[in-house]
Amino acid sequence: MRRRHLGSYVAVIVFAVPFLLPFYLLIRNALMSKRELGSLDWHWWPETISFQGFADAFGNDAVPLAHALWNSALIATISAPLSTLLASMAGYALARIPVAASKPVFFFIIATMMVPGAATFIPTFVVVGSLGGVNTLWGLIVPGLFSAFAVLLFRGFYLRFPRELEDAGRVDGLGHLGLYGRLALPNSGALFASLGILSFIEHWNAFLWPLVIGQDPEFWTVQVALSTNLNQQAVNLPALFAGALVAILPLVALFLIAQRWIVRGVLLTGIKG
């Protein structure tokens, strides 16, 4: 029995090394000098720790990294709660407001789930472009606000919402909107948080859509800025890695702090309830 456990630990550590290796590389490379990182020989750790990479990453006029971070933060902090709220509103109406339109609307919404998100970037670009959304903040944000899948999850959640609570609210004189805003929404905090955090991660890491819709550096997200660093005329390696390190820090911190919610969200979205 003991040996078997020892074996498990050995195995798990062997696997853990390659999973952690890229993080080590990110940190090592970000702290190296240009010369050391560009050399043809392997170094385990920078001879002298240099923060020049960070200075260069933020000092590059051509790739406004700080502004891109701000854009990403703005997009993710607007999109995450707003998209979750929109889904919760629709989910509640579909679950709890008995009108004849309920079923067709429900099918109207979930039918869009068949259509893969990324594969339709050209049609979406055509529409958003025609509406004047190229190189605008709304063009970056609005098309990503509507998740049929989140509606489905919220609907499922509200279907199981205790009827007694609602009845009590109704006695209190609340209408449908009141029931939603006063009772249902405040009581769906866990689901809200899980889906909201996932949505935040998704928007922070999104690449294809921001790449297509925001060409002007003013509207670059951090992922587009990093990708540009990678394709620049002269790649400044330490700055490249320093920028990447800065870009992943918020999410790594989020993963360490709010892992419980993220795992919950992953389970909700990963497995059809």
């Binding site: 209190d172 003013e218 540009t228 990678l230």
Partner: protein, 428 residues
């Protein structure tokens, strides 16, 4: 009944408020949102947007912004916002000019009939004015459609092979006079961690197209694809042999347009442009020079690729006249700025004959070698070699050079596709 009612009202209000706040945050409330009118503080009535791809040399971005500021000084009612677009510039401008809010002025390498037809460019004969005669006709020609010129050339960028003199000497190699000598030199110069030749991180770069040119075939002749040709097949097979010989640097940290590999000794020869000369001089002194890609086979010709950038005005610009005025001011009238742009950072040939003649910096050392090579062997890419027409050819090169596909058959199939695509390009 009073209380619940209020509560309900409040709630409705707050839901609406949240939605409203969110919407306004997306559309107008954001401080970073792109200003549609003139920037606050300046008295300008019109703001032009001007896009550049990223020039790698230090100081270029500041220079571009200074020109724009100078223009506004001279024309206080027109402000210019310079956007510097590093990375994948080509797909960025193509997406941006589809919409009404694209850049007013931008730079490109090619102007295709499709761009003319879609109004992404506008005729600039009036901008060129009387000075049109002073522009290098070779460079003006590919931008001329239906008798009208759609671009003002900004710079000419000759590309050819640069090499380290000391490394040639050490290996006992002299400047090659034929492709066979060139390939042999690359192999001989491959020693230890040093590779003989660098043409691009994918191992091919432009070498396929250039070698085909050096066999005497420009791949396209007006509206006919010509690259289904035994000579071209032979040329690509030779490139494949060179590729297989492991004499070429691949996957370096900078790509072929940056002279880093040559400077650091990672490669002894590199396909790069005139722009790299100041950087090379600073790092290597006079330990470098250049030569055109030597002729391939008996009917061949030496090749210097005359690339470069031209300025176009977006046909959909809301401020067409102001944009034209700006382009004329900068790229026709303002000879000081043109000289600065061509010679103060990376080296480029000024497209105006009068300016090129006065470019002292290009009359000595390796820059002179390049200038002489341009005069003798400069080739400008034919106008109808558009990205779409080009794609089958580029895939064919990969198949032939990297995967050993049968050159004749692959080229024949690709040429047919290129021809089909070319046939769809509108005639202007």
């Amino acid at each position: 009944m009073d209380r619940p009612l209020t509560r309900r009202g409040l709630l409705k209000g707050s839901v609406l408020f949240v939605a409203g706040a969110a919407v306004s945050a997306c559309s107008t409330g954001d401080p970073l949102a792109k200003g549609t009118s003139a920037p606050a503080g300046s008295g300008a009535k019109i703001t032009l947007t001007h896009w550049y791809h990223e020039y790698g040399e230090e100081g270029t971005q500041q220079a571009a912004m200074k020109y724009a500021a100078d223009f506004t000084k001279a024309n206080p009612d027109i402000a210019v916002k310079v956007s510097w677009i590093p990375g994948d510039y080509a797909t960025k401008w193509t997406a941006a000019v589809l919409t009404p809010d694209g850049p007013d002025v931008y730079e490109v390498n090619d102007v295709s009939p499709n761009m003319v037809k879609a109004g992404q460019v506008t005729a600039l004969d009036d901008v060129l004015g009387a000075e049109k005669a002073d522009f290098n006709p070779k460079v003006l020609q590919p931008y001329t459609w239906g008798g009208q010129v759609y671009a003002v050339p900004m710079i000419i960028d000759p590309m050819l092979v640069f090499y380290r003199k000391s490394l040639f000497q050490k290996a006992g190699v002299s400047v090659p006079k034929s492709f066979a000598e060139f390939a042999a030199a690359a192999k001989k110069l491959t020693q230890g961690k040093q590779k003989g030749l660098f043409v691009g991180n994918d191992g091919i770069g432009d070498l396929g197209q250039m070698t085909a040119w050096s066999s005497g075939n420009l791949l396209v002749d007006d509206r006919t694809i010509t690259y289904d040709d035994p000579k071209v097949a032979e040329a690509l097979t030779a490139v494949k042999d060179l590729y297989d010989s492991k004499a070429m640097l691949q996957g370096y940290s900078t790509d072929w347009w940056d002279p880093g590999a040559l400077i650091n000794g990672a490669a002894a020869m590199q396909w790069v442009g005139l722009w790299a000369v100041p950087g090379l001089t600073e790092a290597l002194g006079d330990d470098f020079d250049a030569f055109p890609l030597p002729p391939f086979g008996p009917g061949g010709r030496a090749v210097v690729n005359m690339g470069g950038w031209v300025q176009v005005v977006n046909g959909k610009s809301r401020n067409l006249e102001a944009a034209k005025k700006y382009v004329r001011w900068l790229w026709v009238d303002n000879t000081a700025a043109q000289t600065d742009w061509s010679l103060a950072y990376g080296f480029h040939i000024p497209p105006r004959n009068s300016a090129a003649a006065k470019a002292d910096k290009l009359t000595s050392g390796p820059a002179k070698t390049v200038m002489d090579a341009v005069a003798a062997h400069g080739i400008k890419q034919p106008a109808l070699w558009t990205p779409e027409v080009r794609q089958p050819w580029e895939d064919a090169i990969t198949d032939i050079v990297k995967k050993g596909a049968d050159a004749r058959k692959t080229l024949a199939a690709a040429a047919k596709r290129s021809q089909d695509l070319l046939d769809k390009v509108p005639v202007l």
